[in-house]
Amino acid sequence: MKPARRQRLILIILMVAGITSAVGFALKSFNDNLMYFFSTSDVVAGKAPKDSLFRLGGMVVKGSVERPDKDIKVRFKLTDYSQEVTVEYSGILPDLFREGQGIVANGKLDGRGVFVAEEVLAKHDENYMPPEVKASLKGPKQN
């Protein structure tokens, strides 16, 4: 390779490496701001904001969904498999909302430590399979 070309190639490699490390450091320092939602453990540990809106994500605990006043208001527990947080929501739930499903709720904590949601989004998982396969999976292995 001719020296001029080699020099240009090295220059390009250095440029890309420099930008990558710069962006890498920037992303690392903004790491918390890039999180789309807080986990339930964060909320229990008091890391979530107290008086402002934030998003809370987790799995809906099986058997925890109830409608206390027999109307549109629904109450359920969210978990990240270590801590649980109770969520209340009045409104229409997305189609994919069900027990054992991941969701992201936007809202704030009230005085009782209950998360009052203004919006609930369903977070679907990366698994795709026909219903029959899902049914046969359910038998031996509960998850």
Partner: protein, 252 residues
């Protein structure tokens, strides 16, 4: 020798001769088009008819057969654009510059399709058209990078200087590619994790995976066809004063 073996270098230089490229691609294009249909039609039929509905999302998951291949292509085309831009910068090969700039509109279209189909999919499944999570935002930045490349190229009149500027912009944006791919692993996002592009076994049933891979192959071929057509046009424009173009025009 430094980094690149001699034989590959020679092959590049031969491929990079404009008349050779123009003649070769003319012969190649019908075959590529035939191959494209050969993958697209079974892919569409398999995805829309043969594949079973999903256990959670029913039939609406079928948008995956457009969304996922376009999202893959949006990343693939960008990497190819940046690499050919770098080759153009280092070796000053005119054809590499042309491949770089001809990739941009195709990549931008794939990115746009990925964003739109994702939005259409998000509304019924997540309950929202758009959220500012890391995956969606970084993919939107990718669209702006493509648009920046296209805009920069057309803003500079001297096309050799424009190609250099564009290559540098493309190389700067390369850092976004791993961010898009790993965004769903590094941060909490509403978008779910990868289904196919991971070291683990794909978490999609084989009957749904096969049409997806067929569609991915079809999209790759489509890109190749669109790229070659754009590149041929760009080449003719840039070489309009060259002898081989004059002879070509006289012969037709």
């Amino acid at each position: 020798m430094f980094l690149i073996p001699d034989s590959i270098g020679r092959w590049f230089h031969r491929m990079a001769s404009p008349p050779h490229f123009y003649a070769l691609t003319e012969q190649l294009l019908p075959w590529l088009t035939a191959l494209f249909w050969l993958f697209l039609l079974p892919g569409l039929y398999g995805g829309l008819v043969l594949a079973p509905p999903d256990y959670q999302q029913g039939d609406s998951y079928r948008i995956i057969y457009i969304h996922v291949p376009s999202a893959w292509m949006s990343l693939f085309v960008y990497v190819l654009m940046a690499v050919s831009g770098a080759i153009g910068l280092v070796w000053r090969i005119k054809l590499a510059e042309i491949v770089c700039i001809s990739s941009a509109p195709v990549g931008a279209s794939f990115t746009f399709i990925a964003l739109v189909t994702g939005s259409l999919w998000g509304k019924p499944m997540w309950g929202t058209w758009w959220v500012w999570d890391a995956r969606l935002t970084s993919e939107l930045i990718l669209l702006f990078l493509y648009l920046g490349v296209i805009g920069l190229y057309s803003a500079i009149d001297d096309k050799r200087a424009a190609a250099k500027a564009v290559a540098i912009l493309a190389l700067v944006g390369v850092v976004n590619i791993p961010i898009i791919h790993y965004s769903v692993e590094w941060w909490n996002t509403l978008h779910q994790g990868p289904t196919v592009t991971k070291l683990d076994k794909p978490s999609i049933h084989i009957s749904m995976l096969v049409p997806l891979l067929l569609m991915a192959a079809a999209f790759k071929l489509y890109y190749l066809i669109a790229l070659l057509q754009r590149a041929r046009l760009e080449l003719l424009q840039r070489e309009r004063n060259a002898q081989w173009v004059k002879t070509l025009l006289k012969d037709n």
